[in-house]
C-alpha cells in the first residue's frame, strides 16, 4: 500500500448519478486484487473516501473505479476530468480469497448497487482463471443499472430492481435459489442485503464485503471495526477487510 498521485484518464456517466473514472497507476494496476479499494483524498475534505476497484487493465496500466454521487465528496470526485490528478492510498484492504477455489464448480456473485464494482473486478479475475460464475445484481430502478453487458458476456446474469422497473423485481435474495448450485458465494452491497445473505445461506461458504464510515482507512484509528467471533472480538474493515468470511463476523 502506498500513497500516490494518479492521473485521471477518463470519466463517464454510466447510469443515473453513477460515474466511472479511469485512473493511471502502474503500481496499483499491477498489485490490486478484487475487493480492495482506493482511499481517495478530496480538496477541503478531512476524511478520504473509500471507493472499490472495479477493474484493472495491466496493459494500459489503468485502474477503474465507479461510484454513485451521494454527498459532497462523491460530487467533487465527479468533477474530475482527464488530465487532473487524484491523491490516493491503495490498493487498501484485503480482497476476496479465490486461490483455493475449485475449477469445476461455479461460484455465485451477488452485487447490490454500489457494491457491484468490486464484484465486477472479481468476475474478471475468476473469468481469467476459468472459474464459472453466476451473478445476481440488484439495483434501485432501471436508471441505476450498469455493467449488465460486462457480466452477461462472462456468465449467467440476473438483474433485479427494487421496483421491477427493469427485468426482475424484488431483492437479490429472492433469486438465489433459481441460480442453482455453486461452491461458494461472494457478495458486496448494503448491510441489509449482506445480513439477509448470511442468514439465508448458513450452510454455504461465503465472503461478504462491508462498508463502514472510515477515519484513517489504513488500520490505525479503529473507526471501522466489525464485531467478530474470535478472541480479539473485532476486526478492522479497512485493513482486515472489507471482505470477511460470512461466519467470522457478527452482524
Amino acid at each position: 500500500m502506498n500513497k500516490e498521485l494518479v492521473g485521471v484518464i477518463n470519466k463517464n456517466y454510466i447510469a443515473r448519478e453513477t460515474v466511472e473514472l479511469v485512473l493511471y497507476s502502474e503500481e496499483i494496476a499491477k498489485t490490486a486484487i478484487p475487493g480492495q479499494f482506493l482511499h481517495i483524498q478530496l480538496p477541503n475534505h478531512t476524511l478520504r473516501r473509500p471507493i472499490s476497484i472495479a477493474s484493472v487493465d495491466l496493459e494500459e496500466h489503468t485502474v477503474t473505479i465507479l461510484f454513485k454521487i451521494t454527498g459532497s465528496g462523491t460530487q467533487l470526485l465527479a468533477s474530475y476530468e482527464h488530465g487532473m490528478q487524484l491523491d490516493v492510498i491503495g490498493p487498501a484492504g484485503s480482497g476476496f480469497p479465490i486461490d483455493d477455489l475449485k475449477q469445476d464448480e461455479p461460484v455465485l456473485l451477488i452485487g447490490g448497487g454500489i457494491g457491484v464494482p468490486p464484484i465486477h473486478f472479481l468476475l474478471e479475475q475468476l473469468n481469467a482463471r476459468g472459474v464459472e460464475t453466476k451473478t445476481i445484481l440488484g439495483f434501485q430502478t432501471e436508471a441505476y443499472v450498469f455493467y449488465e453487458e460486462a457480466f452477461r458476456k462472462k456468465g449467467q446474469t440476473t438483474i433485479v430492481t427494487d421496483d421491477g422497473s427493469y427485468q426482475n423485481k424484488g431483492f437479490v435474495t429472492d433469486y438465489i435459489e433459481a441460480a442453482g448450485s455453486f461452491q461458494r458465494y461472494y457478495a458486496c452491497g448494503p448491510m441489509p442485503m449482506l445480513k439477509a445473505l448470511k442468514s439465508t445461506m448458513t450452510e454455504k461458504e461465503g465472503y461478504l464485503s462491508f462498508e463502514e464510515r472510515m477515519g484513517c482507512g489504513v488500520g490505525t484509528c479503529l473507526a471501522c471495526v466489525i464485531p467478530t467471533n474470535d478472541e480479539a472480538g473485532y476486526k478492522k474493515i479497512c485493513q482486515d477487510g472489507p471482505v470477511f468470511a460470512a461466519n467470522e463476523v457478527i452482524l
Partner: protein, 302 residues
C-alpha cells in the same frame, strides 16, 4: 537547522509527534515512512483491561474537521507493553504512553504497569476523553478531581507525567493551575471539543454514541487561544495540538506558547503529514527569521 527541543523526559530531535489515537501504535504508518524521523510517538490510549469501544459509526466528517467516538478501544496496558512498545522500540524516537481509565485506581494501575516497561519516555494522562460514558471526562472538567488524579499518578510514576487538558471547560487556566500544583511535569492540549452531527434521513445522530469529539483544522483557533492563555499563567511545558496540518501551523503553535506539538486528524487526510512537516519546518522557520526551534521559544513573546 537545529530542530531539537527539551522537555521533561523528552530530548526530541524535532518538536513533531503524532497525537494519541491518530497513529495507533505506529505499525500502519511505518509502511509510509521511517518512524525514526519523529520527535516522539504518542501511543493510543491504554486502559487497565482490553476495551472494545463504542458501536459504529464512530466517525463523521464536519467542515474542516471530524467527530470521533472510538471509545478508548485498546488491547489493555499489558498487551501494549508486550507487543506494541517493543515494536516502537525499533525506532530511534521517544515513546509517550497515553493513560486512560474510569477510576483513579485504573489510572494508577496503568501508570504503574507502564513504568515497568523499558524505554518509555513519559506518560500522558488522558483525563479528557469525552467519548466514554463513565469516568474520564469528569477528571477533565473538575479542577479538584484533576488535582487529585495527577497527584496520585505522580506519586507512582518514575517517568514524567503530562496531563492532557480538555477544551470543554469554562476556565482552562484554572484546570492547568490545579494540575501544576499537583506536580505534573507538563501539559498536552487540546483534546477534542464535544460535538454532534445529525443525519437528515434517519433524523438521528450520525455517530452511534450520539456525541463525538471534534478535531481537525476547525478547532485550531481554539487550541491556539487556550495554549496562549495557559502559557501566560502556568509555568509548565506544553505539547500543543488541535488542527495542525502544516509547518506554518507548527510555528503558530510554538509562537502561541507550545514547546512541542502533536499532529492528530491530519494523519488521516495525509498519512505523510508528520514527515512532510518535519522536512518543511526548517524552511518555514528560516522564512520567518528564526534560526532554530529553540530560537523560536526564546524569541516568542507570550
Amino acid at each position: 537547522m537545529d530542530l531539537s527541543v527539551s522537555l521533561p523526559g523528552l530530548e526530541l530531535k524535532n518538536p513533531i509527534m503524532p497525537a494519541s489515537g491518530c497513529f495507533g501504535f505506529g505499525r500502519e504508518y511505518s509502511q509510509f515512512y521511517d518512524l525514526g524521523i519523529l520527535g516522539a510517538v504518542i501511543m493510543k490510549a491504554a486502559t487497565g483491561e482490553k476495551r472494545l469501544g463504542n458501536p459504529t459509526p464512530r466517525v463523521a466528517e464536519t467542515a474542516s474537521g471530524m467527530l470521533n467516538a472510538i471509545g478508548l478501544q485498546n488491547p489493555g496496558v499489558e498487551k501494549i507493553i508486550e507487543t506494541e512498545i517493543p515494536f516502537l522500540n525499533q525506532y530511534d524516537t521517544s515513546i509517550i504512553a497515553n493513560v486512560a481509565g474510569s477510576k483513579v485506581e485504573e489510572y494508577e494501575f496503568v501508570a504503574e504497569t507502564l513504568n515497568q516497561a523499558s524505554s518509555l519516555s513519559a506518560i500522558e494522562l488522558n483525563i479528557s476523553c469525552p467519548n466514554v460514558k463513565e469516568g474520564g471526562i469528569q477528571f477533565g472538567i473538575d479542577p479538584d478531581l484533576a488535582y487529585e488524579l495527577t497527584k496520585r499518578v505522580k506519586k507512582i510514576s518514575k517517568v514524567p507525567v503530562y496531563v492532557k487538558l480538555s477544551p470543554n471547560v469554562t476556565d482552562i487556566v484554572g484546570m492547568a493551575q490545579a494540575i501544576e500544583t499537583a506536580g505534573a511535569d507538563g501539559l498536552t492540549m487540546i483534546n477534542t471539543l464535544t460535538g454532534m452531527r445529525i443525519d437528515l434521513s434517519s433524523r438521528k445522530p450520525i455517530i452511534a454514541n450520539k456525541t463525538g469529539g471534534l478535531s481537525g483544522k476547525a478547532i485550531k483557533p481554539i487550541a491556539i487561544r487556550m495554549i496562549n492563555e495557559v502559557k501566560r499563567h502556568v509555568d509548565l511545558p506544553i505539547i500543543g495540538m488541535g488542527g495542525i496540518a502544516s509547518a506554518e501551523d507548527v510555528l503558530e503553535f510554538l509562537l502561541a506558547g507550545a514547546d512541542a506539538v502533536a499532529i492528530g486528524t491530519e494523519n488521516f487526510t495525509n498519512p505523510m503529514i508528520c514527515k512532510e512537516v518535519i522536512e518543511k519546518l526548517p524552511e518555514v522557520l528560516q522564512h520567518y527569521r528564526f534560526s532554530s526551534v529553540k530560537n523560536v521559544l526564546e524569541e516568542r513573546v507570550i
